[in-house]
Amino acid sequence: MNFEQNPKIEELLNSYIDDELSADERSEVQRLVRKNHTIAQRLRQLERCKALVSSLPPAEPPAEVVAGIKQLLRSHSANTSKSKHIESQRGARHLFVRQVMAASIIIGLVGIMGAVVYRIVGPEETITPIVAVQPAPTIKPTASPVATKPEETKKTVVVAAVENTTSIGLYSLQLQTADFTAVDAYVNKLLEESPWLRYEATKDQPGKSVYRILCSIGGLEAMMSDLATVWSKFDSTTLIVRTDNVGQYVTVTSVKPEQIADIARQDTIDKRIKLANNFAMLNSVEQIMPGEKMLAATERSMPELTTIPKPVLTSGDKNTATAPKGAWDQVQVDLNIIVTGHK
């Protein structure tokens, strides 16, 4: 039998002598060996060849190889411990940086929280000092041809000492009207021609004007008196009054100009709140029973609440020189007037 032409038998015999066959395969090989003399002889040759190689004595590594490997291990251990030391230093540095960062973040958060808390529970904002300018009476030019100089206006500076004054935070007066354009123009002109009050107008939305008014109680009374002339033009009048509690307000619906002045005149916030509550109740009852006269159950005598004195329409040419009584007093009132038209 030529084994070069039957490599599978050769492989099988090799696997047999290497003990790499299953029990069934081993039995098959043993059967072949028993039956075939040539295969049996080949098996013996392979076994002898293998035994020859396996009999070779193992070579021991020379001493210098073992010493070299030991040296290698020692240097490796030293490097490992050195790198571990460097790593631990790096780790400590990294930890320190993280701790510093964490502390910075905590300080930042505490600062932000402090600012938020201060804003919520801190004292009310004080009004910035206001410098009001009272125009002096205009000197009319004479008919003399000599008097050809341009008209000069003398101005008297009046300082309203409002520094460190806490305002009466009425918060807002919301006025709704169908005739927005005419009413808003009137309000605008009224404010422009009232030099004893300071105002800021915001008109960033069509059909809505917001006026922030800073004035004295006398100035507010004068303004309310003027506003009363167009009060009938408003479909809805609502006053929102601040309370001591943050976020809590008293809402007085169908409020009247003199009621606003009355509330502002109260010397303490408790009295203002109490009066505002009374007006709120009275106005709501009045809406249910129109035409009835109602009296507020306040300690002091109240004016007639349901009978508003008929406003007197003033001419467009207001005399700025004749300020109402108390209009130039200390600024105490901070009120937002919101005039809106119907959508």
């Binding site: 490599p7 590594p61 210098e64 073992v66």
Partner: protein, 211 residues
């Protein structure tokens, strides 16, 4: 993960994959910072690795250098060793690859004086070898090992094999690896191991008969 749990897990994996548990535990210990573990592994395998390198490359000086190179590679790369195979086959693979690559680079070195050496060889040893191969003489491995001249002849026969055949004969018949381990070390299929080993033994027999 605690060290003990890591070692238990490594042992379980080693058992399931028929890998040497002791080696696996030592590798695990080394990874956990025990430098003595790698020393134990090196001591365990340095002789065997030197032996197979010497049998493949046939030059003691080269074998010494390649053995050191093998352990440099082992120490450098043990962090990348994934324990999918055993440390034993992994280290031997490094050794065999280094040796075969080295032999390829120095292909001209080796057998230049072999014929002359054979001509001057012991005639008695040659006759003994012939008798063993022809099945006329009883085979006693101990006697063969003691017969220096006969061993020299066999080693010369092995050196005449080509690299692939020499490596597989050394791994199987000298190192005693099973076919699966050989496949892993040489990076070949199990079927290739069978056919290559069969051809290698046939070639060796022819060489030895011709000596």
């Amino acid at each position: 993960m605690p060290a003990t749990r890591c070692i238990i897990r490594a042992k379980r994996v080693a058992h399931s994959q028929h890998i040497n548990v002791e080696d696996t535990v030592l590798v695990q210990k080394w990874r956990q910072g025990d430098p003595s573990a790698i020393e134990q592994l090196v001591c365990k395998y340095q002789g065997r690795i030197y032996n197979i390198i010497l049998k493949i490359c046939s030059n003691p000086n080269d074998a010494a250098e390649l053995t050191q190179d093998t352990f440099v590679k082992v120490i450098e790369n043990i962090g990348k060793f994934e324990s999918r195979s055993g440390f034993y086959t992994w280290a031997f693979r490094i050794a065999v690859n280094l040796t075969l690559n080295y032999r390829k680079r120095k292909a001209t070195v080796g057998f230049t004086s072999l014929d002359a050496e054979l001509a001057a060889g012991d005639e008695q040893a040659r006759q003994g070898l012939s008798a063993i191969l022809s099945d006329d003489k009883a085979l006693d491995p101990a006697q063969i090992a003691e017969n220096r001249e006969l061993c020299e002849l066999i080693q010369k026969g092995i050196r005449k094999l080509d690299e692939e055949h020499r490596a597989i004969i050394v791994l199987r018949d000298i190192e005693g690896m099973d076919y699966e381990q050989i496949a892993e070390v040489l990076g070949i299929e199990l079927g290739t191991v069978k056919s290559r080993l069969s051809r290698a033994r046939a070639a060796l027999r022819q060489i030895l008969e011709a000596l």
